[in-house]
């Protein structure tokens, strides 16, 4: 095996032979390899986050026409490291009346719920934690452990705002988990397996071209699951001060912070794996390292999109957010599931391109119908709103008279 083509497998095989050469029984060799692989992957993901936080802050600054971090090192690249050193040496405060065990367990669960996702994501054709046959459901299950962490944080902090924020966060996470789980069915259906590596390798044509509506719904639901703008109700600073993590300080708060950034990137990676073909690309089968590069490029594109959305779109109200999940995304996800199932079954077998064209057509029709229905619904409700607001004084912008500047000859 050539080192350049597939470095990780090369190292694994080498290490395996070395350990077996030492006379360690095969089961223990595998156990050691598991621990090494899992530890390195999890540690790598966490260290990766340091760069990620800098990147996001810098990008956010640029999107909002600011400079972003620019003091520590060139382009402020060491800003996060300075922040990290600071947060490491901050005092860890436990509020009075807090439930100590749960209070300390909650940030660990929040972090584990994000790191745990990395166990099933295929990084390249040969490098993945495990291609378990319930991989997609595992993603949902890990998400529910994160919800558990949020509930624990809210309950144990002995603080009204934490409790309120925690319950709000969990209610919105639950609501957006429904359309997300339904859209997860579609890649599973098209690939015929729940293993994420199977799904990635089944995408000779990326699934976003076969189920664009589902991809859109999943993308929106994933942003909401991350608790990012415009769905950052759970951290709404001006309403519930900071949500469930308000009583945390020092590195315990840092864990929530890191988990937040890492979750955004991980979601982008999952989206890239499920809908953009993951490591698929020309030559990825022969040179698995190339596959990793493809995955990174696709992930970076999705991530860039989420960051741009985060820094441009204002926050929704909580009723709008819930209505959007239940009245729009869930029916749309169900319809998309049924349309995909019917069209894919009805399409003539063996004709790849025609099938894809039919699926795209059906999805476009579906989206147009949904759009039309939303317009109708909104019109109906605008009428109702007008009746209510008739008696209120409506602020009218007074048009100031524009003083025309005298033309200057140039």
């Amino acid at each position: 095996m050539i080192f350049i083509a597939d470095p990780i497998t090369f190292i694994t095989t080498w290490l395996n032979s070395v350990l077996t050469g030492w006379g360690i029984p095969a089961i223990w060799v595998q156990f050691i390899m598991f621990i090494l692989g899992a530890g390195l992957l999890a540690l790598g993901a966490m260290i990766f986050t340091i760069g990620l936080i800098w990147l996001e802050r810098k990008l956010g600054g640029r999107v909002q026409d600011r400079l972003g971090p620019n003091r520590v090192g060139p382009w402020g690249i060491f800003q996060t490291i300075a922040d990290m050193l600071k947060i490491f040496t901050k005092e860890l405060i436990t509020p009075v009346g807090a439930d100590k065990f749960l209070y300390n367990l909650a940030p660990l669960l929040a972090m584990a719920a994000v790191l745990g996702l990395w166990a099933v994501i295929p990084l390249s054709p040969t490098v993945f934690g495990t291609n378990i046959n319930v991989g997609v459901l595992y993603l949902i299950g890990i998400g529910s452990i994160g919800e558990l962490g949020i509930i624990m944080a809210g309950l144990s902090s002995n603080n009204k705002y934490a409790l309120l924020g925690g319950f709000r966060a969990v209610a919105s996470l639950l609501s957006y988990e429904v359309p997300m789980a339904i859209t997860l069915l579609i890649p599973v259906m098209l690939a015929g397996s729940m293993g994420l590596n199977d799904i990635a390798s089944a995408q000779k044509v990326a699934f976003i071209f076969q189920a664009p509506v589902a991809a859109l719904v999943f993308f929106i639901a994933a942003i909401a699951e991350n608790g990012r703008a415009p769905f950052d109700l759970m951290e709404a600073d001006s309403e519930i001060v900071a949500g469930f993590n308000i009583e945390y300080s020092g590195l315990k708060f840092g864990m929530y912070y890191v988990a937040d950034f890492l979750h955004a990137f991980t979601s982008a990676m999952i989206f890239a794996t499920l809908f953009l073909g993951g490591w698929n690309g020309p030559g990825a089968e022969q040179y698995p390292a190339l596959g990793f590069l493809y995955l990174l490029i696709k992930t970076a594109l999705v991530y860039l999109l989420t960051v741009t959305i985060r820094f441009t779109v204002p926050r929704l109200r909580i009723d709008q957010m819930m209505a959007f999940a239940w009245k729009y995304l869930t029916p749309l996800a169900l319809a998309s599931l049924l349309v995909t199932a019917v069209v894919d079954k009805a399409a003539p077998a063996g004709q790849g391109l025609l099938r894809v064209a039919l699926l795209i057509g059906a999805n476009i029709v579906l989206f147009l119908i949904a759009d039309r229905l939303v317009t109708l619904y909104r019109k109906q409700h605008e009428k109702a709103r007008k009746v209510v607001s008739d008696d209120r004084p409506v602020p009218v912008a007074i048009r100031s008279t524009v003083v025309e500047e005298p033309e200057v000859n140039s």
Binding site: A38, P95, G97, P107, L137, N159, A341
Partner: protein, 118 residues
């Protein structure tokens, strides 16, 4: 099969252990100077009024019910999705029936106003 689960268990244990170790290290490094004021509950600067146990709206519960039922539905559909390529068109009709029955539930919740955040 157990190998995969063993790997997942190890991975989850490690991903719990790494933050725990980091927080432990921070606890050693950081100063410890607790004071009554510092450890008190934060409430926008004023003193805390009343216990932290507050009454919640039933709205949260309605969303949780809807979530639970749709979660069960999705779980029932996952085996269908995996077996999709081996199924005939008749099976798709069965699934449409299944989904429509539950979509009826969603429509009921909508009409009753259970989806409105009041």
């Amino acid at each position: 099969m157990l190998q995969e689960w063993l790997y997942l268990a190890i991975f989850l244990a490690i991903s719990l252990f790494i933050p725990a170790a980091a927080i432990g290290a921070a606890a050693l490094l950081s100063p410890k100077k607790p004071s009554t004021l510092k450890n008190s509950i934060y409430e926008c600067g004023i003193e805390t009024v009343g216990p932290a146990r507050i009454q919640f709206k039933a709205q949260y519960y309605l969303y949780a019910i809807l979530f639970l039922i749709f979660d069960v539905e999705t779980v029932f559909l996952f085996p269908f999705a995996v077996a999709y390529n081996q199924l005939l068109f008749f099976a798709v009709i069965e699934v449409i029936l299944f989904v429509f029955v539950l979509a009826g539930g969603l429509a009921y919740a909508w009409r009753r106003g259970a989806l409105e955040w009041s």
